[in-house]
Symmetry: C2
Subunit: 347 residues, 2 copies
DNA sequence: ACTTAGCACTCGTGGTCATCGAGTGCTAAC
DNA sequence: GTTAGCACTCGATGACCACGAGTGCTAAGT
């Protein structure tokens, strides 16, 4: 375990390094007004901290920098997160509410604003709309054997997908089917559509239709979410280029894999999807991230809710040398603000 | 006017510089097998070309590089664009056709592939779907005074927008209105919807409904395209990070404004929208571009068509030192391929 | 009159070298 | 346990120089 003094030194060092991005020496620390011990003592402590794995030395005659373990300890025990300006969020809330006509816009705006406020890149995993309940379902045939199925939810959200009408299903039957579906499925949450289709509709259909097979094929296409590998959740990015402000990414070679990643939406979804349900703030430092591309980065995430149910998450991506306190504070405020706005929108 | 020999020298120099990204000296040119004049002579010619504004010298004792005027002359008179491998496109066409279920996917794929093929960034201005004809229109009320209007076109494309039901319009009337709209507007191309609304529907409506004002307000919301500042056309980007492969963008400072621009969709639309209708290939070199951010870049664009009507364009963005020949060749092939695929999809 | 060989000159690149200074580890004294 | 002192390390900085690619100019050749 660390002594109190070691903790203080570690905290000061991390704080300083986060600010300056340069290795911190013993003298720098001892010169701080609240420090009354000599550089030599601090050197000894730092040597111990290094041996324990909390610090690293870029080269022999430089100061120390925090290791990833050091950051972890800092985030868990040393950092003070209540270091923020509450009025910011007030302003921004009104900014967000100005154009509340579309959930999508609110979420996109959130990404931009969070990025602007933190000076890092923001990644927002869009809300699962699957909790919406089905309000109406329609089928509009076009062309030869094609049709679009249109699902409207009780919040005015529209989903549509193209389906092909299986051989043997007469066009006349379709109106009948749509009727049946509307009777049976209205009010069912989208994510339960598929199972409801089998429990509610299948029997009825078997009884009164001779095209059971064809109809079920058609229906299945309709309720199947479009599989773009993202499970239906969209990703919203804000300030992808802000990562370039960080000295650790001045080099194009370091930068490229990261920016490349921003184009691979599924990867980003994978990165965030675990964090939606676990609630609260999560901090993943360096190698704690599953994705290798960001082993030199930290990802701070917060989930947001609609009606108290977690539906998505906001993430901030920056170098491991990140202003954790400020970021966590900002995310805390924003996840609640966003939750409130979305809940209201959902009414 | 340039002499033949000056043209040859300019061509060789541009070719060489495009390949190597390094200033080209007189010796380099004279050593080429098809060159039988001495470096000294070439130096004289180069001095003349510089005076005429076709070449520049980075510093006194370096070789010459083409000026933007030089590139312009090269593109207009010297370059040979038939420098490509036709089988590439064949392969890719089948690749595109594999997932032809959605226009959007085809266009997005095109952006990626063109970028991969040229090693620059591809920007595709999505097709105006306004040429599609209306197949059906529906209104689904939800919540208090809200509704979604759903427009389906004859190609299975779905547009939807949220509308608020004006005061004084009774919910019962809506079904009636929808009927009327479907009677009058089916078969009308989307871009003519608004005018058709006034010519076809307004009179009829005035005659048989006492809520003329309210209904017209409602209808207008429905046919108004969503205004996100892009005029309804979407932007598809491919290989935004490939620009980093170019030595002129190895510096983060140069890079940032460019990548920032990629996030500003309206700017990109503005950049491309002029090029849709003018047909053929267009090359904008450096300052010829309206947008200041890309004054150090060149933009090559080609429009593509559906049923012979220009609906969008493909652009390739790279440094002014761009492989114009290859890019133009690729775009030529792709604009026709894309036109064919989209036309077929549109049937 | 055009071409070219020759030459002095320019200027960026890359290497060596010494200096500087921030920082360390260690020892010995407090 | 703390700290002053000191030798040592090592990257950064800048001066210096040699190199070489390339130029412009002049003068000679065709």
């Amino acid at each position: 375990m660390l002594t109190d003094r070691q903790k203080v030194i570690l905290q000061i060092l991390v704080d300083d390094y986060i600010r300056s991005a340069e290795p911190v020496g013993s003298r720098t620390i001892s010169k701080r007004p609240d420090m009354s011990i000599s550089p030599a003592t601090i050197r000894n402590e730092m040597a111990d901290l290094e041996e324990l794995g909390y610090l690293e030395q870029p080269h022999t005659s430089a100061g120390r920098i925090p290791s990833q373990k050091g950051y972890r300890f800092y985030v868990d025990h040393l950092m003070n997160a209540d270091n923020g300006e509450a009025q910011d969020v007030q302003n921004l809330r009104s900014g967000l509410l100005n154009r509340l006509d579309e959930m999508e816009q609110v979420v996109q705006q959130t990404a931009s604003i969070v990025s602007g406020l933190t000076n890092y890149t923001a990644i927002v995993l869009g809300p699962k709309v699957f909790t919406d309940k089905l309000l109406s379902i329609q089928i509009q045939p076009y062309g030869d054997r094609m049709a679009v199925a249109i699902l409207v939810t009780d919040t005015g959200h529209v989903e549509h997908r193209k389906v092909t009408i299986p051989e043997g299903v007469p066009p006349e039957a379709i109106a009948h089917y749509v009727n049946l579906l509307n009777q049976k499925l209205v009010g069912v949450p989208l994510h339960k559509l598929k199972s409801a289709l089998h429990t509610e509709v299948a029997d009825e259909l078997r009884r009164c239709s001779e095209q059971f097979e064809g109809a079920m094929m058609l229906f299945n296409q309709m309720v199947e979410p479009e599989d773009d590998g993202t499970g239906g959740q969209r990703i919203y990015l804000g300030g992808t280029t802000r990562i370039m402000n960080q000295p650790e990414f001045r080099d194009v070679e370091k930068l490229k894999p990261l920016l490349d990643m921003f184009e691979q939406t599924q990867k980003l979804v994978r990165m965030l999807e675990g964090t939606t349900s676990s609630g609260g703030i999560q901090v993943r430092i360096g190698h704690e991230n599953l994705i290798e591309t960001i082993h030199e980065c930290s990802l701070v995430t917060a989930s947001y809710t609609i009606d108290g149910i977690p539906v998505g998450s906001i993430g901030v991506l920056g170098p491991t040398r990140m202003e954790y306190g400020r970021v966590i504070h900002t995310l805390n405020q924003f996840s609640t603000t966003l939750s409130q706005i979305l809940t209201q929108l959902n009414k």
